[in-house]
Every structure is written in C-alpha cells, then in structure tokens.
Point group: C2
Chain length 313, copies 2
C-alpha cells in the first residue's frame, strides 16, 4: 500500500471507479427499526445500549459500501455526544473501516494554534504507537478548521505527513451564514474563502507534501460552491484534493460537484451522508426493497455512483 | 446560584476581585518532577499512568487556584491526546473544578453546521441528563469556532441557554497567520474579525441571551488585540463578555488586556495558562519556594492578579 495518503486515495478512486464517498453520521433515533426495536438494543438512554446499536448499524453500513467506494467519512460529533464511550466507539468504527480496505477520513474539524494544535494533531492524526494502545490506529486523514491560518495547520500537516496520512482543511461551508462570511471581499474583489484557499494551497504545494500522483496530502473541504467557483478552484490548484460535502440530502448537484474532478476522475471526493445511510427511509427504496434496509443503502450507493458517472459523460 | 451563565460569572469576578482565570493545558513531560518521578506515575507510555499523573497535577492546581480566581479554562486537546481515556479524565477535571465552586470553561473550539453542530452542542454543553451518566455535568461554558457564522453558532447557543450555560465564540486569534486572515479587509476597511464580531454580537444581544447583569451568555474569544482594538470592541459591544487568552507566556500586556474590562472590572476574563501552571519552572519562583511547586503556582496566580490590579489603577 502506498505510503502517501494522496497516492493511496488516488489509487482507491481509480480502482472503485468513482469519487463518491459515504459519510457516517449515525443518530440513534434514525437507525432502522430492525435495530432499535430489538429488545437488547431498545434503550436510547443507556449509553452502552445506544452505542451497541450504533456500532451494529455502522458495521453493516461499512460492509455494504466497502466494495463500492474508495473512502468513508466518519463524523466524530455523533460519537462524542456519548462522551468517552462514544469516542471509544469512534475508534472502533475507524478500525473496522480500515480493515475493510477503505480510506478513512475522520471528520473532526479540530482547529487551534501552537501547542494546542499540536496536541489535537497527536490526538487525531497520529497513530498512538507512543502509547500502549495496540491495534488502534488514527484515521487516514482528518478534517480540520483553517480559521487560524497556516501556522495552525502546520502542526497537523507535519504530523499527518510523518504518518503517511492526510488533511482536509475546511475552507468553505455551504450554510447561508457561512456564505456571508466566506463572501466577505477585499478591495480586489477577492473573497475570504479564496484568500484562505490561496493560503492553504501555497502551503500544500511544498514538495514535502506532494505524492508521486502529483496531489498533496493537504486538501480542502469546499461546501456550497457553484460550478464556476469549482472550476476556478480546480484550475488554480491542480495539486489539491477537494472534499466536497453536501451531495444528496444537502442538495448539491452531481454536475456541480464533478467540476472538482479532473478529466481522469481524480482530484476530488464527493460525499453523501444521510441520503445513503438512511436510504431505508426513502419511499423509492422502500418500494423496491421493503424492510431490507441494507439493500436500500447498497442501492442508494450504487445510484449515487451512477448519477456521478452519467453526469460526467 | 444564578441560572444564567453571565450572571454567575459576573458575580464570581466581583467576589474574587479579578478578571484573571487559569488555563489548564497539562503536558505529562512538563509536570513537576515530584509527580512524574514517583514510581507509580513514572511511565508516559502507559495511558492510565500518564492520566493518573495528569489528574494528580490538575487536582492540586485546581485546589490552589480555586480561592483566587473566578474561573478555569480546561483545554480539551491535552486530554484528547489520550483518546477516550483522556476524554473521561477531562470530564473528571470538569467535575472537580465545579465542586470547588469555579466557573468552568471547556476549551474545545468545536464548530460545524446543521445537525453536526447540534451533535457537538449535545456532546459538550448539555448536561447528559438524557443518558444514564449520574454525576457528570458539562462545563459552564465552552469555546466554539465561529467559522460557519451564526447558523453554526445557534445550535450551541440554544443548547447552552436552555442549560444556563454559555459560549465563547473564537473571533480573533493571536498567531501571525491568523492575523493575515483576520485583517483581510473589505472596501469599507472593515476587517474580517470585525465583521465576524458584528455577526456574533448581533446574535448575542437578542433578549433571550441576556442575563440580568446585562451581559449575554454568548461571548467572544479575542486573541492578539491591540489596546485600540480592545477599546473599540468594548465600546461597540457593551453586552459582550470577552475571553482574552495569551496573558503571560504568550506575551499579552496587562494594560492591553484590561481594555476589555469595563470600569467596574466586569465584562472580560483574562487567561494565563503556562505561566501559572508551570510556574515551578520559572527561576523567580524556584528562588522563592524551591521545590514547593504548589506554592510557586499559587504565587504566580497571586502575582497575576496583582499585575492586573495595578495596571487597572
């Protein structure tokens, strides 16, 4: 397996033939009734029971999507709400996904400066070889918050790189108030997110971060971009990997998302979370597969790949 | 005890007679040799041993500073680096600080949008009454990252408010690359941090967030401000509480920090972390108290209060 995150990811995109990835945002009350109505899993107020239910769900989702997609994004927030027990479960899900051959992105959005940024990097992107925690590895990449600029990013970037891992720096969010901030412009008409993207990209193209595939292991999260914004970012930063959230439930269009990919299909990951993992709530799939919730998820994932594939023609 | 975070905090500042607060950023290798050279605590690679050492340290620091300051800030990153075991220790420290009558700020800098922001809010600022976790409460307030603007803040703000708790939204950081971003200006000359501060302050002065003291439970973290910037923010936003990091080791001056306080001494918290908790490494205190590391910390805290007090005259 390649030692550089961008090389591994680029190989995985090629081998699975898609930039589609699946996000795991598990919420107990949204889980299939076949799980939460089971007597041993039917108590949301019991932390261990709730986590067992979530683990059962995540394990099945991972096995279902592993043959189909290059990577999964695991959202830490939905585990952290169960305190330390949830954090332990998060790492179990990371290990399971890794064992299935998936590239694993820990969606943790951490960000700070100085020694705190270094502590967060040690916590989230460094394999804990320095501790007696056999069998636990950090994810292949994490998302971070770029609010403090490059010197808040460097501790994460250096730690990730030493470990053959990667980062996606959150540069643009899709929600309305984030747009108000992201589109705050200077007198040259440059928007804040463009300015932040430039800062991140300048760091990311230092030779020590580039893989043999030409991409950097330091990428960006870009939400809510228009097709034109996506084209511009793709052209300006040929060495950048983009993580594009919001396909499906959040309404991003396949054709817009695909502007982040190069012609050979590399260079971006397009994430859908709820529209895939909760596909059994979608009347379309209920009609096709009834109570077979696993089949609903599989078909939604297949359909997402097809949508992205046909939009790319 | 007051049900509104800003009321409790304002009372605590008055009763302790200082805006000084102490930040706990515990790093094993920096702990007093009396702790880490103890046979049962002398193994940094054993997670349980490392955490026991950190807990022993934090417990002594909290007991020492509790009579002196209104609040402590507990930095989650330094606990998260020990994975779930560290997260459990973080909550133990939060409980100990609360039991000592301190207002407790969890420095977690979380930030995201939509359902993820809500999950982080549930994880970090909501007492887990909905789970079977007796005796665990969330901190009185947390720091969050304002990158996604007000609709990323609202889930935290509403959850905090329901619980009588507070937030400090990170609006400006002190490091050089954060300044490059924060000082990115629009054509009216308004800087990005000023624009973000305006967004946060507009939300924070909604009546539902205001305590009877006149302050909102939604405050801001402002690092690296000049005296002039501090004066401007204080005047523009009379209902805002400011959390000011960087006193001591990071070099912020007492006189500059105090510009965030009103004439009656209310309205701001001035945090020092390393210069207080590692005061036993400072030759000045070593000379005075030798190996009595607890006394060094106590004196550093007393001295910080005096510095802020004399600069205020």
């Amino acid at each position: 397996m390649a030692d550089h995150f961008a090389d591994r990811l680029t190989e995985a995109i090629k081998s699975k033939g898609t930039p589609a990835i699946v996000g795991l945002d598990p919420i107990y009350s949204n889980l299939p009734k076949q799980i939460i109505e089971r007597k041993d899993l039917n108590d949301e107020t019991d932390v261990e029971v709730a986590i067992d239910a979530i683990m059962e769900f995540c394990t099945k989702v991972l096995k279902t999507v592993a043959p189909l997609v290059p990577a999964v994004k695991i959202n830490s927030a939905f585990f952290e709400k169960y305190y330390w027990e949830g954090v332990e479960a998060y790492y179990s899900v990371v290990q399971e996904a890794t064992a299935l051959g998936l590239e694993v992105i820990g969606d943790v959005k951490r960000g700070d400066i100085g020694s705190t940024a270094q502590a967060y990097a040690n916590a989230h992107i460094k394999n804990p070889d320095f501790l007696d925690m056999d069998g636990i590895d950090a994810p292949d990449a994490i998302t971070i918050n770029g609010f403090a600029g490059t010197d808040g990013i460097i501790p994460f970037a250096e730690t990730a790189t030493e470990q053959g891992k990667g980062l996606f720096v959150w540069v643009k969010a899709s929600n309305p108030s984030a747009n108000i901030l992201a589109e705050f412009a200077n007198e040259d008409g440059q928007q804040y997110y463009e300015f932040l993207a430039e800062q991140v990209a300048t760091l990311a193209c230092e030779p020590k971060y580039l893989g043999s595939c030409g991409y950097s292991n330091i990428g960006m999260v870009i939400g809510g971009a228009t097709a034109e914004q996506a084209q511009t970012l793709r052209q300006q930063y040929p060495h950048m990997l983009f993580l594009v959230p919001g396909f499906g439930a959040q309404g991003a269009l396949a054709s817009d998302c695909l502007e982040f990919c190069k012609d050979d299909g590399s260079g971006a990951l397009i994430n859908a979370s709820r529209s895939i993992i909760y596909a059994y709530d979608n009347p379309q799939y209920q009609g096709q597969y009834g109570d077979d919730w696993v089949k609903c998820i599989e078909q939604a994932c297949v359909d997402m790949k097809a949508q992205l594939s046909s939009a790319n023609v």
